[in-house]
Symmetry: C2
Subunit: 203 residues, 2 copies
């Protein structure tokens, strides 16, 4: 199915489709233009409405702004990710709060007993990882909704980052993501995507 075949089927207008998905790209270089705290708060204020299991909202976002904080992260990244992360206007460490259940009586008030369904830590880790990862999907869309580019990176030592930045033992690091305005040669040609036939099956 090509993009040209679908214009009338989505309620979202074409410019917004492009901004969020079709022309948006993972950025590897950034301009010097800063990403402000107000922009980050506006992104969060938008994407916090995305659904999570039990409305648990386990995603926690650590923004690395100071050079000292940035320097603590770099050794935990794969070598190919260090220079671009050192130079990015903003770096976000995205983690799941494994003890998110403590707030369920407030967040899921019609079933406050949900907290007690999650007394087993392994179950909670799985739930926290799942819902926080969903939220990272929303966050990526939100970064783009702000007219910014995201640079999510798979290559890093998650346990090392967790030890460095979340010594409390209640967080699991899921992703490190650079954010900014794309700079020169920020990406190569788009990589191939699977077809509808590869992904969808009907019974």
């Amino acid at each position: 199915m090509t993009a040209l075949a679908t214009p009338g089927l989505l309620a979202l207008d074409r410019a917004a489709q492009d901004l969020l998905f079709r022309t948006a790209r993972t950025a590897n270089t950034f301009t010097d233009e800063p990403v402000t705290d107000a922009q980050v708060a506006a992104i969060h204020d938008l994407i916090r409405y995305g659904p999570t299991a039990y409305n648990g909202q386990p995603l926690r976002v650590l923004l690395l702004r100071s050079p000292a904080a940035r320097a603590r992260l770099l050794p935990h990244l794969s070598s190919g990710n260090r220079a671009k992360t050192a130079a990015a206007p903003l770096v976000a460490v995205l983690a799941a709060d494994v003890d998110f259940h403590e707030r369920l009586p407030e967040l899921y008030p019609h079933r406050p007993q949900a907290r007690d369904w999650l007394t087993d830590r392994a179950t909670r880790v799985e739930q926290a990882r799942f819902s926080a990862t969903l939220q990272i999907g929303y966050l990526l869309v939100g970064v783009r909704a702000a007219g910014l580019a995201a640079g999510p990176m798979a290559g890093f030592d998650a346990e090392g980052v967790t030890r460095e930045f979340f010594p409390d033992g209640r967080h699991e690091t899921l992703l490190v993501m650079n954010v900014g305005h794309p700079g020169p040669d920020s990406w190569s040609a788009r990589l191939p995507r699977l077809s509808t036939e590869d992904v969808l099956r009907t019974l």
Copy 2:
């Protein structure tokens, strides 16, 4: 931070913000209006551009349309989710392809050796779950971009659904999601969301 404080900070216009996040809601009842294969293909054609680790795109979507297929799912849902799922215009079973690495030479052609980094199944399961869950985040946004409502459900037996629908042993079921146009009394008042202060921290 309230929504009123942020209007100028996002590039995405307010109507699109509302469609995707602010007024969009998890639906529990649906009208009889069908969700067509063309709509589903248009949603997939939009969200398939969302980023995944190694461009691996492990999400697989099984659409249950026939009454026989729907009947196979219902026993694996928690009792509170059965009636609404039986009545939904479309039910999607969302799973991760644990053997997604087989296609990396095609999907990540500049580093075809990436396939060989993923020979360990446990590593692959973790990667497949993570990227497919990100893609479910994009898919939820995509369903809303089509003017439809999603009804993701946490209450189901994932292993049972996997055994029933993916006996090949190469998939892990992550979520069951109803899709349609919201019906009467489709939701209650919106549940509370965490504040920016709860979620964001700066170093």
